[in-house]
Amino acid sequence: MNNPGLTILIVDDTPTNARQLEAVARKLGHVAILAGNGVEAIDKFKSEQPDLIFMDIMMPVMDGITAARHIRGLPTDKWTPIVFFSALEQMQDIVRGLEAGGDDYIVKPASLQILRAKINSYARMLSLQNEVRANAEELRNWRMDAEEQSRLGAHVMSRLTDAASLRDPMIRHFNMPADTFSGDLLCAARAPGEVLNVLLADAAGHGLAAALSAMPLTQAFYSMTAKGFPLPSIAEELNRKLKSILPPDRFVAATLAAIDVRNQTVEVWNGGNPDALFINTRGEVAMQWASNHPPLGILPDKLFSGMTETVVFHEPGDLLLCSDGLTEAENPAGGWFAIDGVRDHLSRAQGGEARFTSLLKGVMEHLGGHPGRDDISALMVSVPIDRRRQIRFDTPIPSHQGHLAEWRLDLSYGAQELRYIDVVPAVLGFVTQINALKPHQGALFLIFSELFNNALDHGLLGLDSATKSWIGGFELYMNQRGERLAKLRNGRIDIAFQLHQDGTRAVLDISMTDTGPGFDFEQRLNKPDALGVGNEQAYGRGIALVKNLCDQVVYSGNGNKVWARYLVSDLILENEESEDEAARRKPDGAGDVADLVMF
C-alpha cells in the first residue's frame, strides 16, 4: 500500500502493553501516540487527530468506556475507529464497549499476527473512507459550480426571453422549463415597416447546454429585423451562425414568422417545430404551416433553404407557434398532448386572451401535476384586420439649419446584383446613418420599399398586381416573382437620394428609374381614394401609402421614373435666406412639367 501511514493513538496504563502495540504499528509504517488514561486520550485525540484508536478499558483517572463515549460526543467530520483492547473478556464487557461507540473489541493478550492484521484491515477501510470523502467533496464542488452556472444561465436567458418587445399587446407567450431554466427562446421585434417578426427556437436537449445553443440567435434576429431584412435572409443568417459555432450533434428547431397587418400576410419559416397554426374567430384552423426544413445549425450554407410560405388572411385570427415540448407533453398514461390537443384547446375559447389561457390550462391538466420532460413554450400573435390603420410617425422637431449637412447618394443595380442582394435593407442601412434621417427610419423604409418593389416587380419582372386580388393570387404572385427574379438577366434600377434645404424645410428627395416598359400612371393613379377604407384591392395601396407619407410624388417618362419628396423637418433659420436663394432650390430630376402627374 502506498498510502501514507496512519496516526494511531494507543491508550493503556500498562507501559509493556502500550509498547508492544507501538512496536507493531511502527513496523507497519504508522505513527504511534501514547496516552496513559482516558483524560489524556481525549486531549491527544483533540490535539493529534488520530486515524485509529486502541483503547484499554480499566485505567486510572478515567476508564476507556467513558473516554470513548466522550470522544464520540465530540464534533468531527470523519470517522475514527475505536478498537477496545482489554483483558475483560465477558460478553457484557464486549457489548458495553461496542455500545459506548467502539467499533471492535480485542481480548488481551492478542498475538502479534492478530494485531498486525487488525491494523492492516483498518488501514484499508480508512483509505476507502478517504476516497469516498474526496469524491463526495468533489461532487459537492461540482454541484456548487453547476448551480452557479445555472443561476447565470437562468438570468441571461430570462433577460433574453423577457425582451421588452415580447410585451407587444398582440403577443401572448409562456415558457415552462423542464430544468431550472428553459432552452426554448422566444423573441419578437418590429421591422421598420411595422411588420412584426417573431421567433420561437427550441435547442436540442434542455438546461444550460440547450440555452447556450439558442443564445446566439437573439442578436442576429434583432439586428436583422431592425434593419428590415426579409425573413428568408434572417433564416439563412441564423443557420449560418449556428452551423459555424455548434458541434455536429447540436441544433436548434425554429419557427420564424412575419406578420404584416397592412398587407394582410403571414409569412412563416418552420424548421423542426410542430405546425404553426392560424385559428380564425370561429375556432377553425384557417392556415397551417408544417415544418418543411431541417432545424437550424445542421445544413451548410449552400444546402440550406430559407424559403418561406406566405399566406394572405382575410379575417382576423390567432397565430400560434410552439415547441415540441407542448405537443409531446405526456399525461400520466404516457399519451401526448399532440397538435390535436393544441388545436382543440385553442378553438374552445373566443378572443386571444381566453384562447391562450385555455391552451395553457389544457396542457397543465394533461400533464396531471407532473413537470414536462422537455421545455414547453408557445407564442401566440393575435392578428387583426385593420384597414383603417393609419401609419403615423412622430412629427419631427424643427432642427437648426447649422446641423443640416447636404447629402447625396446615387446607386445603380444591375440584374446580376438584383438577383441576390436585399436592396432595401442594404440601402436603408446607408441612409439611416445620416443623423437627420435616423428618426425617419420607419417612414423611409415604407416609402423606399414600396418604390423599389414597384420598380422591380412591375418594371423589371413584369408582374401584375391585380393577380394578388384573386383567390390564391398572392401565393401565385410570390411564386412568379421568385421564378422571374431567378431568371432576370437584363435591366437596371437607378436610385438617388438627396437631402437638402428647401426654403424653411429640410427635405429628402428620392428618385428611382427602372429600365422596364413603365405603366399607364395617369389612368392607374387617378383612381379616387386608393387608400380608402372600402378598398379591398391588394394592389394600388402601396403607391397611395407613399403619397400619404410624402410631400409630393411625381411619375414621369412612361411611368418608369418616380420622384418623391419627403419632409424631414422644419428648419430654424439662423440667418434669413434671400428670396433668390430659396427660389434657386427647385426640385431637380422631376422631368418635363408636361409629363407630370402631381398629387
Binding site: 436540442a204 436537449g205 455536429p248 450533434d249 447540436r250 423542426g272 408544417a290 431541417p294 401526448w336
Partner: protein
Amino acid sequence: MLIANEVSGDRATLKLGGRFDFHSHRDFRAAYEKVLETGAVREIIIHFGEVDYLDSSALGMLLLLREKAEGTGKNVVLAGLHGTVKQVLDIANFGKLFSVKP
C-alpha cells in the same frame, strides 16, 4: 436502449429497441464505433422497428454518426420508421439529411 448489431457483407444493421434518448449515448456510440471501424461496411442501416421513443438528443446522435460515417465513406440509412418515431423524424425533416428505407 437495446442494440443488436448485424454485419453481412458491406452492410451493417444496428437494430435499436426501447427508448432512444439522452441515456442511450454511450451504448449507441459503442455500437456504431465498432461498425465504423469495419472497413468492408459501406452502408449502415439504423433500424427503428422496436424503438418506441426518440428525443432530440437521439437526433443529435444520428447527426454525429452521419458526420463520422461520411468521413469514412459510409452511408447511413434510416429504416423501420413507424408511429411517433416517424413523426419526430418527419418534423425534423431528417428525410432530407439521410436515406430512408421503409
